[in-house]
Amino acid sequence: MQLARKEEIFAKDGNKTYSLMAIVEGESLHVERGPENTVQTWPHLMVRELLLFLVVLLAILGVSLLFNAPLEEAANPLHSTNPAKAPWYFVGIQELVSYSAFLGGILVPAAIVVGLLLLPYLDRSPKGIGVWFSADRKLANTLFTVFVVAMVVLIFIGQFLRGPNWIIRWPW
């Protein structure tokens, strides 16, 4: 392995000890902005974060005042609901399970989790960091989009198109 060569600006003198004595104000080439284009966390970042919190809280409060969470009849082990659905985020998996239990229940979820865990170790190219939909990563973006779209489509079918007896029907 090759190590990056470290640039020593001030070579250390082994006979001396060093410590930071003071930070002085100075003039930098960055006028009106901090070194390396940084800004003070307080207030610039914190205020935005607090604002976002307010927005989230208000949104949730608004929805909660308008719509009630579902509560059906008390659980009854003697009567299955028709159809019986898993929570929406697992409905895509359930849709696969209704084609093949092993494929949908085990193979696909395991492949998704393992794939996600290994992703950063398989895609080692440093290109395209920090840019949305970088053109350097066409293949990766396409593959991931296929995955996302597949999930969304499966969840949509399972959640909205599957009616009683798990028959495909239009939701309206």
Binding site: N37, P87, V131, N141
Partner: protein, 247 residues
């Protein structure tokens, strides 16, 4: 050593200032120093560095999705603890407790709604956050391991939501969990054992409700808090949020 004179009278006069100062641990400085001290002098805020790169502030970059997930988690903790005051993990009482929340407890229904809708929203937001991290290539070196922690967080979020789903003990809950636990039993060799351990028995009953409850209110939130802590700490250690290389 010169003996300063301490008088009770002075102490009372300076009471507010002294209390405030002991609380904030802050001494006067320049505006920048004080702003910096606000962040590093606070246990919770010092997860942030004192200065952040301007790119981290661009709403169009992160879309705030990770932060929204975190805020939803906070809302879930608070509303969840409140709902717990009226909830018993028993097959006889759970459903009645839900009805009580709806009809007999002041703001009970609102709190239940908040808890339920935030839970759904959190699953969606965490997923979107993952998409954002992917599409901006933010999982690449040196942030690989934070992505791994993120995947664990996604799983914990899903399990939190799933275990919570059973607690109202209504038809929706019962059959969704019956179906869900049977999906797990398709695992080769150990599937049935896992289902037995998960439900604490052969069927979705009292033991299953209790197990899901313990996971939902104690174990999984604890894991989530620890993982979120590590997730945030690593963002700092990895040099702040990802950003394009500067020209």
């Amino acid at each position: 050593m010169n003996d300063a004179t301490y008088s009770v009278k002075d102490a009372i006069k300076q009471l507010p200032t002294n209390i405030k100062q002991s609380f904030t641990r802050r001494e006067a400085g320049t505006a920048e120093q004080e702003q910096a001290a606000t962040v590093f002098g606070n246990l919770f805020l010092h997860l942030h560095p004192v200065r952040v790169h301007a790119n981290a502030l661009r709403p169009s970059y992160t879309m705030g999705l990770g932060l929204i997930s975190f805020f939803l988690f906070l809302i879930l903790v608070v509303s969840g603890i409140l709902v717990m005051f009226y909830y018993t993990p028993s097959t006889e009482l759970a459903y009645r407790n839900m009805k009580d929340l709806e009809f007999a407890v002041s703001f009970g229904i609102v709190l239940r709604n908040i808890h339920r809708w935030s839970a759904h929203a959190m699953v969606a937001m965490v997923f979107l956050h993952m998409c954002r991290v992917f599409y901006t290539g933010a999982y690449k070196a040196p942030r690989e391991f934070n992505w791994v922690i993120g995947v664990c967080l996604l799983l914990v979020t899903l399990f939190l939501s799933f275990t919570g789903y059973l607690l109202p003990w209504d038809q929706l809950a019962f059959w969704a969990v019956t179906v869900g636990s049977n999906i797990a039993s398709y695992m080769p060799w150990i599937g049935d054992k896992i289902r037995f351990l998960m439900l604490g028995g052969n069927e979705v009953g009292q033991m299953a409700l209790l197990r899901f409850y313990v996971m939902h209110v104690a174990l999984l939130p604890l894991v989530a808090v620890v993982l979120v802590g590590v997730h945030f700490w690593r963002i700092r250690k990895d040099g702040g949020l990802s950003r394009p290389t500067e020209e």
